[in-house]
Assembly symmetry: C2
């Protein structure tokens, strides 16, 4: 996997090489974390040791510009049911998709700082726009592994297309960054990538208009040029778009495979946790939510994305 | 006019009475400012006096959550062509319409503070959402007159309906605040007010989809219940909506008068400037723009709202 996706803990060469070639993690690394705690977790407690000190018990931090990242959290929790997740939605400053790279970077670094201060073992950037713009800079501020959604999504869509004709849709900022196109070309250098910013799809999904005629016409309007380009696979490059999946299917027909980054990212996170010996092996995972706005709208709209477990969220009043 | 709309300079009784009854400004007030400068402006310069010290020459401050307020600025500049305007668009944190009253208030106070520090003679809150939520609090921080768009819009729409059946559309936060309903009831206590939040119309206007079928269907969807309620007048309670005016007309038909707050606010500002002796009597007004984001998108989208004079904007990096 490309080093831009992963920054391994205790793997300093990865940091220096992050903009260069791919370098696999040494096998010895896999047990570094686990070997610090030779006593099994269930025994440690009985022996009076502090299980919270075991890095495997630390939560995974996930941040997003607001609500959409809950689709990524959903996939993460399904693929990693034993893990605890701390989710931060920057609801006071959403959306990021219409903002500039500079502002997105500043906000993303602040979000990451909040989660890193809470002792997380891994950081996942659920927001496509933040992943496209800020992954490298965030990874440069920490030694824990940092994952974005761009690389896993790009890898999955590269595999899904036979001809190499691939469509990518996302926010204005994600498409303008060119991050998906670059990532796809790394996996499949001869791919033909067709991109389209679709600014109205985020408010449509938040309004809950995911199966009416307006949603259908809007999607058809945006996808028209991609469809005539003959794409074989379409990457949903925004956390909100999976809610409109059935509309995409209807508009594009059976000939186009639809890929979203959330499940690919969740699988990659699972793989990496196990490779680093950081996976939690016992217990049922919990999720806790932080927002920068008052939580009412997050809870109301968030249930459309994740389900009824979005019961409460703690507001942080920092920005 | 209701004192919630105006907080007069040098009129302390207005401040203490602001949540109570209407109290007209004393006639003597009208010349307070002018009498401080008995020398006409064109002569003052010749006499070596500093014309910038004349409060009439000071600019009017206008702020908005971002770009939409340019429709208000347009009306203000047309009604007050000799005035200089300083416009601040909080583009790094837009939109306000989906955010909570608490966050909108904090952002609005920060915006007002920036403009007040620039020596403005009057402050206009162009954003409907900010006007609905933050006008009183902002007025409490300054002695210069502060205007919002709610009162002038409410007055205009109250006059436009014979039967008193009035529709109001706006953002989620504007409608939730109930500010328009309260203001209309002050002008016309027996009015029947029907409100509807229309979250998709802001992104539609910013995308430039103001005359296609999707815009028409979306507007029809939102206005359906208002139409069947038999409204006679519709208030466009958001700065973005005037761009969709022709769609509203088409959907509602000739029987419903469409009123927007921008021109009513501009006329009220003009009247008040003259009443206070603060109107600039000579010269051609200029407009300058400040944004909290990089200015590219503001300039690009802003031209749809104001025209080609949106050439440049200065970015302030405060929040």
């Amino acid at each position: 996997m490309d080093p831009r996706f992963w920054r391994a803990r205790n793997f300093p060469s990865d940091m220096s090489a992050k903009r260069e070639t791919v370098r696999p993690a040494p096998a010895s690394l896999r047990s570094v974390e686990a070997s610090k705690f030779p006593v099994p977790q269930h025994r440690a407690k009985r022996l009076g040791l502090n299980p919270a000190a075991d890095p495997r018990n630390r939560p995974i931090g996930v941040f997003d510009s607001g609500i959409g990242g809950l689709t990524v959290l959903k996939a993460l929790a399904e693929a990693n049911p034993r893990e605890d997740f701390i989710y931060l939605g920057d609801t006071a400053r959403l959306p990021y998709g219409t903002k500039s790279a500079e502002v997105i970077l500043r906000y993303s670094l602040e979000n990451a700082g909040f989660l890193l201060a809470r002792g997380i073992k891994m950081l996942v950037i659920a927001c496509n726009t933040s992943s496209a713009v800020a992954l490298d800079e965030i990874a440069g501020t920490t030694t824990i592994p940092v994952a974005g959604v761009i690389e896993p999504g790009a890898r999955a869509v590269s595999r899904a297309s036979r001809s190499g004709k691939i469509g990518v849709i996302g926010t204005e900022a994600t498409i303008a960054s060119g991050a998906y196109t670059r990532a796809i070309k790394r996996f499949r250098p001869r791919a033909e990538v067709f991109t389209r910013a679709c600014p109205l799809l985020v408010p449509l999904a938040e309004e809950g208009w995911t199966d009416n005629e307006i949603a259908e016409r809007t999607v058809a309007h945006y996808l028209d040029s991609l469809k005539t380009s003959g794409i074989e696979a379409l990457l949903l490059g925004c956390t909100h778009y999976p809610l409109l999946r059935s509309v995409f299917e209807k508009v594009l027909g059976a000939g186009v495979k639809i890929v979203d980054s959330a499940s690919a990212t969740a699988a990659a996170v699972r793989e990496r946790l196990h490779a680093l010996g950081l996976a939690r092996l016992r217990g049922a995972g919990r999720q806790s939510f932080f927002v920068t706005e008052t939580p009412e709208r997050f809870i109301r709209v968030g249930r459309r994305f994740l389900g009824p477990q979005v019961e409460s969220a703690v507001r942080i009043e920092r920005w």
